[in-house]
């Protein structure tokens, strides 16, 4: 009951702040465009012609197998959703903890017979469900529309959405930690974007380390690589997954998940010790 109350509260907040409506509106617009504006002419399992808003799309190299078109298109879309989706999701959920910790508001929540960890994790769960629902709506909707139009049902696209959600969870855990420590929405959001920017090039940590003279610098680069989320690797894995080119790397997935879990654990611990 209490967890449900916190999840519902998070949804109400997302609805009131137009976050959810913005997500849903943009997703719906995209899905409607794909549904009504994109016309595919499939002949014997191959894409013979395609039009967007009535304008013919150029088909380089003649007919292409429709499965290749679908997996190629969905993998590109998965890559786009990975970057843009996490950017928007971080922006939309960065205020969750600072809003909760506002003077005069936090007292109302924490004076109830519910543990602090429960309150924080309840809101975390609420944030996760908001983003998961949006991802499911967008990716699931796209998969269904493409499936109906082409007859190719690419379930791996949903697995890719799940991977995107896992990376987002890691960032949400980090935002909760920054939020509990600082109580600041701008700082939570900016540091999360900073984390993205720093973690991306670390995929090439071997090359970066090879170019360094100092052993300390090398240790720092390698340490950061293993501690921070593997945003670049997982982005590549998401695309490969949809293209049937292999499963995501277990180490990248595990360390990214661990990063989020440790951040969330620290956030809960600090939140429990905090005086309001």
């Amino acid at each position: 009951m209490r967890t449900w109350a916190l999840v519902v509260d998070t949804w109400r907040e997302a609805l009131a702040r137009k976050t959810l409506l913005g997500f849903a509106g943009a997703s719906t617009l995209f899905l409607l465009t794909i549904t009504f504006a994109l016309d595919l002419d499939i002949v014997q399992g191959s894409l013979a012609a395609a039009t967007l808003f009535g304008h013919p799309l150029e088909m380089h190299g003649g007919q292409v197998a429709i499965t290749d078109v679908v997996t190629g298109g969905l993998s590109a879309f998965a890559g786009l959703t990975y970057g843009l989706g996490i950017f928007l999701a971080v922006f939309a959920t960065g205020n969750q903890v600072p809003n909760l910790m506002r003077r005069g508001t936090v007292d109302l929540y924490l004076s109830r017979p519910v543990g602090r960890a429960h309150v924080l994790l309840g809101r975390f769960l609420g944030g996760v469900t908001v983003v998961a629902a949006n991802l499911l709506y967008l990716c699931g909707g796209l998969m269904v529309i493409v499936g109906l139009k082409t007859g190719v049902w690419e379930a791996r696209f949903l697995l890719a959405a799940l991977l995107i959600l896992v990376v987002f969870l890691s960032f949400l855990g980090f935002m909760y930690l920054v939020g509990v420590m600082s109580g600041s929405t701008p700082l939570s959001v900016m540091l999360s974007y900073g984390l993205w920017v720093v973690s991306m090039p670390l995929a090439a940590h071997d090359k970066i380390a090879a170019a360094m003279d100092s052993r300390v610098s090398v240790a720092i680069v390698n340490g950061l690589y293993w501690v921070l989320p593997k945003t670049a690797e997982l982005g590549r894995d998401i695309v490969r997954l949809v293209l049937h080119q292999g499963a995501p790397g277990a180490a990248a997935l595990a360390t990214t998940t661990a990063f989020g879990a440790v951040c969330l654990g620290l956030a809960v611990t600090l939140f429990q010790r905090k005086s309001f």
Binding site: R2, A5, R12, G104, T105, L108, R112
Partner: protein, 322 residues
């Protein structure tokens, strides 16, 4: 041996110290506070700004960690969530999420308090009616006035029929009619047997609702007593007579007299001295119309204790404060 004087006390605070530390200074917000609020008691917490009243209430609820000392609420450590079962709290300057309606806020905080949906369905309209928000329950809180959010805060504090109520400035920003309304609600809760801790600047409200008060100043309890005890005067009386009254022709030993607006304020050493004065006035041909014992109002006591030690101004006992 237990540090608590009364194990049956609803709220027990013993040797409470809270020090806020920043880079530049240390602020001792509470400095060895001992308090107990009994079952069914309405206890007032008074003090100037920065005296530590809100800090004390937050520590009792487990919102703020004490530096030293022990706190129990119905015998339990407030750090445990279960200690807050059936405890209502109205924080000072509370901010409900503006995106909620009054009904949605009561449902949210009712659910967090563990109240079942069925009970909430009947309890929410009942509470909105009680605090005078029956016709505004579906409006967003963002559109409420300060007084309305205060009433909603009181309703939220009462959502699970609490056995303990902690109210921090409950009438803050509320108009006189609303204040009376809130006072009536508190008196009804007192009749129900709820233990209430009220922290308020409005001394008249405290005087009318509380049985006992503690006055905090700079983190210390400077006085704790029953309201009657605090406001009871010594042997001081106001004497009126037809056509005004002046000092008797013959001085009376053992009385101090102050003449003002046709009446005499008398400070007597004993009842015999008072009666000797009255006899002297009667001998002078004065027709006495009134002899009223004087007390101090709570404000006088408060100002004397925390405001520089000025002597209290006498007033007629039973008169309104403020």
């Amino acid at each position: 041996m237990s540090v608590y004087r009364d194990v049956s006390a609803t709220i027990s605070v013993h040797g409470l110290v809270k020090v806020y530390r920043s880079r530049r200074r240390r602020l001792r917000a509470l400095d060895g506070v001992d308090l107990e609020v009994g079952p069914g008691e309405v206890f007032g917490l008074l003090g100037p700004n920065g005296a530590g009243k809100t800090t004390l209430v937050k520590i009792v609820l487990g919102l703020t960690r004490p530096t030293e000392g022990a706190v129990r609420i119905r015998g339990a450590n407030p750090d445990h969530a279960s200690a807050r079962l059936k405890v209502g709290y109205l924080p000072e300057g509370h901010r409900f999420p503006g995106y909620l309606s009054g009904v949605a806020a009561l449902r949210l905080f009712g659910r967090l308090a563990g109240v079942t949906e069925g009970v909430l369905d009947s309890r929410i309209p009942e509470l909105l009616d009680l605090v005078g928000l029956a016709d505004r329950g579906c409006d967003r809180i963002g559109r409420y006035s300060k007084g309305m959010t205060q009433r909603l805060g009181l309703a939220a504090a009462l959502i699970d029929r609490p056995e303990v109520l902690l109210l921090d400035e409950p009438t803050d920003g509320v108009d006189p009619v609303g204040r009376r309304h809130i006072r009536d609600v508190l008196l009804a809760e007192r009749e129900r047997g709820t233990s209430i801790l009220v922290n308020s600047h409005l001394l008249s409200e405290v005087e009318r609702t509380c049985g006992r008060v503690a006055i905090l100043d700079r983190g210390r309890v400077v006085r704790e007593a029953a309201i009657d005890e605090l406001t009871r005067g010594g042997l001081r009386f106001r004497v009126r007579a037809e056509g005004g009254v002046v000092e008797p022709a013959t001085p009376v030993p053992g009385v101090g007299l102050t003449r003002c607006n046709g009446y005499l304020d008398v400070e007597a050493e004993s009842l015999d001295a008072l009666n000797a004065l009255l006899d002297a006035l009667r001998r002078d041909g004065r027709l006495l119309t009134e002899v009223t014992p004087l007390g101090s109002d709570l404000e006088d006591v408060f100002v004397k204790l925390v405001g520089g030690g000025q002597p209290p101004t006498p007033r007629a006992a039973g008169g309104g404060a403020q």
